[in-house]
Amino acid sequence: MRHLAMENMPESYLRYTQRKVFIICLLFLLTILLGVYAINAGSAKLSPAQVLLTLLGKAEGHLNIIIWNIRLPRVLAAITAGAGLSVAGCVMQSILRNPLASPFTLGVSQGAAFGAAVAIIALGAGSTHSASADAVIINNPYLVTISAFVGAMVTTMVVLFLAQIKGVTPEAMVLAGVALSSLFSAATIILQYFASDVQVASIVFWTFGDIGRASWRDLEIMAVVTGAALIYFMANQWNYNALDSGEETAKGLGVDVEKIRMAGMFVASLVTSVAVSFLGIIGFIGLVSPHMMRRILGGDHRFLIPASSVMGGLLLLASDTLARTIISPVVLPVGAITSFMGAPLFLYLLSRGYSKR
């Protein structure tokens, strides 16, 4: 092999990859800017200068409370959950060879929600404090998460069974997702008959997702799990790229397809479960952001995975900020906003024959 010097490198290719890195950085910057705006926006009027001072720890009492206890956790929760759900959707689309896959469309989110509801109502992991919308306080976040994870995994196993053993088409798999999610929704409704009025009110609100529910402790768990999952997915970026060229090609490139698929779905379900157990079901984020980024950056997972997660954070933060401010002081459930965004895209993908462009 000849000696290799840097100037021999394929330059146009390097420029092409640098452009991708640049776009990801740009989105990241945009997220930070939107984050500052989101801390600003709301019924209590603040100025950007006040926000900055508070974050640096140089502000008086009531500002501290508003920013540190209400707005900042909310902004960070939106970014974390958006990133987690999107990266889960991105990886599901690759390992199931199904562009319509996401935690929401396959019913994994609904399974997790049912599991969480079981923990809160039946296993006593939540308790009632007041009669407002976020009246149910989660006492034991670990129990809720684990229970949500069991619900998510049950759905995932069914999905994997259909994908691997039965080899069903992408459309059929989404139909199975519809069946699974109505099954779990029905189970959740039945569960509500055994709950108090306040719990019911909260669960109804919850099925449409609410970012404001996250406490600092919830946020910590969510961030750790999402961060670990992101690292795992990044470490497998080449495996997902290989899978995108077809199962046999991937095997020929040394990928243990069954193992990668199992482990990937396991981790994706875990990420979905933490987001769902603390914030409720937030639909379509996991479908929309990977598709947007695949369109802009292409299908290379070295860039698609970080890009999807950043985009997901940005998108959910934007949706939540919109939900808070559009008819302020009324706060709309964020899941309603994301569904308005995602459902048309979903229909578009279906109508176009979901080619992977």
Binding site: M1, L4, M6, N8, M9, P10, S12, Y13, Y16, R97, A235, W238, N241, A242, D244, S245, G246, E248, T249, K251, G252, L253, G254, V255, D256, R294, G298, G299, D300, R302, S355, K356, R357
Partner: protein, 250 residues
């Protein structure tokens, strides 16, 4: 000997597909596997690549036992071009870079990029580097997939019907590339083929597979009208046209 196959048997659950397969492939040799649909050609190729595991028999790659190697180690030694593949939203360069996967730990090194660039150059595809796969023609796509397998730097290259779905010109171009790679890289190439004329034009050795067993194996001398008739069930004549051997069904 680069590749030695000895007494290989394979069956799907209880249905036997391959029985007593034995052959050898030298370096620089283009070895073609021929036979009817369902004779077990693709199954044999998948056994060579350990995608399927034969129940008995041994496969040696440069004296190393295939059954002792893990997937990644197999992929470093054998390149495989599947019959079916999908074209995601990848550029040609990225698709070929994927061939470096068995050698890559975390990120692609400058050496990996250089190998990809060289392969694209040799195949005359530099211009296409940054085009997306879903914008390519069938012939271009097939060359990308072969380029990927070459970037893998294998010692044995396996191809499953690389010329089906290609037009005449691309059939020739693809097989010329494969033939050249075998000679220049001094690797063993095993190709499953349907077209007997193309096989006789490009291959050095032939293996006629019938009902999962070897009917005949060897050089040009085994490509007789009698052998072809009994393997394919069609009466044929083998003639020379402009010095090139051709098979004509009668």
């Amino acid at each position: 000997m680069m590749l030695v196959v000895d007494k290989v048997e394979f069956s799907y659950s209880s249905r036997p597909v391959l029985r007593d397969i034995r052959f050898e492939v030298k370096r620089g040799e283009l070895f073609s596997i021929l036979g009817n649909n369902g004779a077990g050609k693709s199954t044999l190729l998948k056994c060579l690549n350990k995608i399927l595991k034969p129940q008995t028999g041994t496969i040696l790659i440069e004296k190393e036992d295939l059954s002792m190697l893990n997937r990644r180690e197999v992929a470093r030694r054998l390149g495989y071009v599947a019959q079916r593949y999908e074209s995601g939203r990848f550029t040609v360069f990225d698709a070929v870079l994927l061939g470096r996967k068995p050698h890559i730990k975390w990120g692609a090194t400058p050496r990996d990029l250089k190998i990809v660039q060289d392969v694209l150059q040799v195949l005359g595809m530099e211009e296409l580097s940054l085009r997306y796969l879903d914008e390519l023609s069938g012939g271009e796509l097939q060359k990308v997939v072969i380029a990927r397998a070459l970037a893998q730097e294998p010692r044995v290259l396996l191809l499953d019907e690389p010329t089906s779905n290609l037009d005449l010109r691309n059939q020739f171009e693809v097989l010329k590339i494969v033939k050249k790679a075998a000679k220049e890289r001094n690797i063993a190439v095993v190709v499953v083929m349907h077209d007997l004329n193309l096989a006789m034009r490009f291959a050095d050795k032939f293996l006629l597979l019938k009902n999962g067993t070897i009917f005949a194996c060897g050089g040009m001398e085994i490509m007789t009208p009698e052998n072809i008739a009994s393997v394919y069930g069609v009466q044929v004549a083998v003639e020379r046209l402009a010095g090139i051997p051709v098979v004509v069904p009668l």
